[in-house]
């Protein structure tokens, strides 16, 4: 996955100021930085929940390039093709409260891919089993713990068979022990070779599990390095100042 010179501003306020980034297949990349640095916006631009003003997103044979013009039908088609490669997990889970956990996982394959019911169901159960939720497949999300809900959300994203998973502060709404359940699933996916981008405040996880860490501030990438290097010998003073809070 390749991102080149991504820019985005809201009402004249620059949020992303020329972000370029490449992510290798199978990599687990953590994005850290102070609140308001644009890390969530970056993630949301990668699957076009926000439309970047300019810049390019490129992924396994699909690309979408923007240079400030209007959003067109062709852009919509490219975005659709790119999204098919990308799964997303939200801080607030955003599970569909009116459907059971199983139906949450089933819905998109059935609606978007028109998957055959039996096969889709089989696949959904496999994914729920993988995240440890096979036993609660028939329950509604409202009756689950936060950790269970977030794991269900991961299973839901995986059901669309993405190449890349995006996580927007997946554990910020969770108690530490519940967060651990979720991080465990992400480690497991990493071991299976999934490409993952994680916006997180979970420094211990970032350091232990990431292949690489990106530090962002004020809409720019300040520093990117392997975890040990970034945590022990950050080169930029801003990175140092930020990391000091977590020590």
């Amino acid at each position: 996955m390749l991102v080149r010179d991504l820019c985005k501003s809201f009402d004249g306020q620059v949020v992303l100021d020329g972000i370029s980034l490449s992510v290798a297949a199978g990599e687990l990349l953590s994005i850290i930085g102070p609140s308001g640095c644009g890390k969530s916006t970056l993630l949301r631009c990668l699957n076009f929940l926000e439309l970047p003003d300019r810049g390019e997103v490129r992924m396994v044979g699909h690309a979408l390039r923007r240079d400030g013009g209007r959003w067109r039908r062709a852009d919509e088609a490219s975005a659709h093709a790119l999204r098919a490669q990308v799964g997303m997990v939200f801080q607030a889970f955003n599970l569909f409260p009116h459907r059971t956990v199983l139906d949450n996982v089933l819905l998109a394959p059935r609606v978007v891919k028109r998957a055959e019911r039996g096969l889709a169901r089989q696949e959904a159960m496999r994914l729920l089993d993988k995240v440890g939720l096979a036993a609660v497949a028939g329950r509604h999300p409202g009756t689950l713990s936060g950790g269970q809900q977030q794991r269900a959300a991961i299973a839901r994203a995986l059901a669309m068979a993405p190449r890349v998973m995006l996580y927007d502060e997946p554990t910020s709404a969770l108690d530490p022990e519940l967060a651990e359940e979720v991080l465990q699933v992400m480690r497991q996916l990493d071991a299976e070779g999934m490409t993952q981008l994680v916006v997180t405040h979970e420094m211990r996880f970032a350091r232990a599990a990431s292949d690489r860490i990106v530090f962002m501030d004020a809409g720019r990438i300040v520093e990117e390095a392997a975890p040990d290097q970034l945590f022990t010998a950050p080169t930029d003073p801003r990175t140092r100042r930020f990391l000091r809070q977590f020590l």
């Binding site: 699957n47 929940l49 659709h80 999204r83 098919a84 990308v86 799964g87 997303m88 939200f90 607030a92 889970f93 955003n94 599970l95 569909f96 409260p97 009116h98 459907r99 059971t100 819905l107 998109a108 609606v111 978007v112 509604h140 999300p141 409202g142 009756t143 809900q149 959300a153 839901r156 994203a157 669309m160 709404a173």
Partner: protein
């Protein structure tokens, strides 16, 4: 295989039923709620249509080779309905005046009469128009009596829609006198022990059968039929049964026969409407109302349910257009909602039933009622659904889009089902108010609960008992839906004990 013989059999049956040389129908309209002695439902048997005009039509039909078919319509809709071609003629004590003749044609008169003054039994004087000056006098709107009282000047005039209300206000002391057509006085003032008629007949007016302009052949046929009825004594015999044969009519028809028939129909009326003394008899009378109220309740329910289905479907489309449509769609949906919410439902009903035919759209009364109520309520439903859609957290749409659903798929599978549960309680509310608003379709000839109430209460002067009965029927209709909604709410809520968001 089986279908062909079946169809053939049906066709043969229909031919048989149609019979050889069946007479052409004469569709005649009247408002059976407007009271005795014109066209009304027999107080002793609500399913039987009676009245001296009913008798005249029954006698006239065969005489001119036509089968009379009664069509009920609300008084105010009688002439518009005639012009619309809903039926062939109208007979309902309609006075032949130049104003009316500008809009419709009339047959030769079938009855001539005058106005009569009624006062309370203890009143003195007040027996002529000049004597009424300075007093409060009731009459019916748009009648000869009203014109005469207005011309006299100095009279405080109260115009009523309904003669029963006028006479009961007289008995209660709200009015000093009531002046109305003699037949009305005979049926509503004379039997009332608290009232008396004073003075002589005032003025002169003629009732004619109203026929749409341009139907000269029909008019000629009806006139020849009426003429024959005048000459052979048929008209006199009908009027004698109703105690309405007067010297004036004898002069007009030239029928000076000395035959005298007892006023059987009038006595039947007096008998059937006399105040019921015992509770038992009263209960028996109420029991007699039940079939009519039951049928009317079914009509109310059918109109309301169909209208609600239309309102839900159309309202959802409007809400989606308003929230997700392109700008022309948004603007049209908004305009529709504002216009429909900002104008009275009654006018919309009349517009759809009487107004649209001039644009070539003719709906039968049931359909017109359903369409009018449905289109009206859709505007309110649309706003409910819009609020419902807005109350679904934004993250739901994002999650659906992130799963690569299109906006349409997200709306359909994720947003609408969730918005729906927000609006169930409001929808129940709306349905109950729709049940009640359906009373407005009584103006386009549908016999639903409110019309049944008007019919029964005006026949018996019993606004209290009938009101309780009909009110009870409305309650019974609404209750199951309240319960149903509560069950639905509970079931929908069960899935989300805790909201699936922080």
């Amino acid at each position: 295989m089986i279908r062909l013989p079946l169809l053939a059999g049906l066709a043969a049956l229909m031919l048989l039923l149609a019979g050889p040389a069946r007479a052409e129908p004469l569709r005649w309209a009247s408002d059976a709620q407007s009271g005795a002695p014109y066209v009304f439902h027999d107080p002793a048997d609500q399913s039987r249509l009676t009245g001296f005009e009913t008798d005249i039509m029954a006698a006239l039909g065969p005489r001119i080779g036509m089968t009379p078919v009664f069509v009920q319509n609300d008084w105010d809709g009688l002439i518009p309905g005639l012009q619309r071609g809903l039926y062939d003629v109208v007979i309902d004590g309609i006075e032949i005046t130049p104003e009316h003749q500008a809009a419709i044609d009339f047959s030769e008169p079938y009855y001539r009469t005058s106005e009569r003054i009624a006062v309370r039994r203890d009143a003195v004087g007040l027996d002529s128009i000049p004597a009424l000056r300075g007093h409060v006098v009731g009459t019916l709107k748009d009648t000869l009596s009203q014109r005469l009282l207005e011309q006299a000047g100095g009279i405080r005039l109260r115009s009523y829609d309904d003669e029963i209300n006028a006479y009961s206000d007289l008995a209660n002391g709200r009015l000093d006198a009531v002046m109305l057509d003699a037949p009305i006085a005979l049926y509503y003032a004379v039997p009332d022990p608290r009232l008396k008629l004073v003075g002589g007949p005032i003025g002169a007016l003629s009732y004619g059968i109203a026929i749409a302009k341009g139907r000269d052949a029909l008019k000629a046929r009806i006139d020849s039929g009426l003429d024959a009825m005048r000459r052979d004594g048929t008209l006199r015999r009908i009027l004698q049964r109703w105690a309405m044969w007067t010297p004036e009519m004898a002069t007009f028809t030239g029928d000076h026969s000395t035959e005298v028939l007892p006023p059987a129909a009038w006595q039947h009326w007096l008998q059937a409407t006399r105040p019921v003394p015992g509770l038992r008899e009263r209960m028996a009378r109420y029991a007699g109302f039940l079939p009519l109220i039951g049928r009317a309740a079914l009509m109310t329910l059918a109109v309301s349910a169909c209208a609600m289905v239309l309102a839900v479907a159309w309202g959802l489309l409007l809400a989606l257009a308003r929230r997700y449509g392109s700008w022309p769609l948004r603007v049209s949906a908004t305009a529709y909602i504002e216009i429909v919410r900002g104008t009275p439902l009654l006018i919309q009903i009349l517009f759809i039933f009487y107004g649209l035919p001039s644009l070539g759209v003719r709906l039968d009364p049931f359909l017109a009622g359903v369409v009018a109520l449905g289109l009206n309520y859709a505007a309110y439903e649309a706003e409910n659904y819009r609020a419902g859609l807005q109350s679904v957290p934004h993250g739901q749409m994002e999650a659906a889009l992130a799963l690569n659903m299109t906006q349409g798929q997200a709306v359909r599978h994720v947003l609408v089902p969730q918005a729906f549960r927000f609006v169930v309680p409001v929808m129940t509310n709306d349905f109950i108010s729709l049940l009640k608003d359906s009373s407005l379709v009584s103006v386009i000839t549908l016999t639903e609960l409110t019309q049944a109430y008007v019919r029964l209460s005006t026949t018996y002067y019993d606004y209290l008992g009938t009101g309780l009965l009909v009110g009870g029927a409305y309650l019974l209709l609404g209750l199951p839906f309240v319960r149903l909604a509560r069950v639905a709410e509970r079931r929908l809520a069960a899935g989300q004990v805790r909201a699936a968001r922080r």
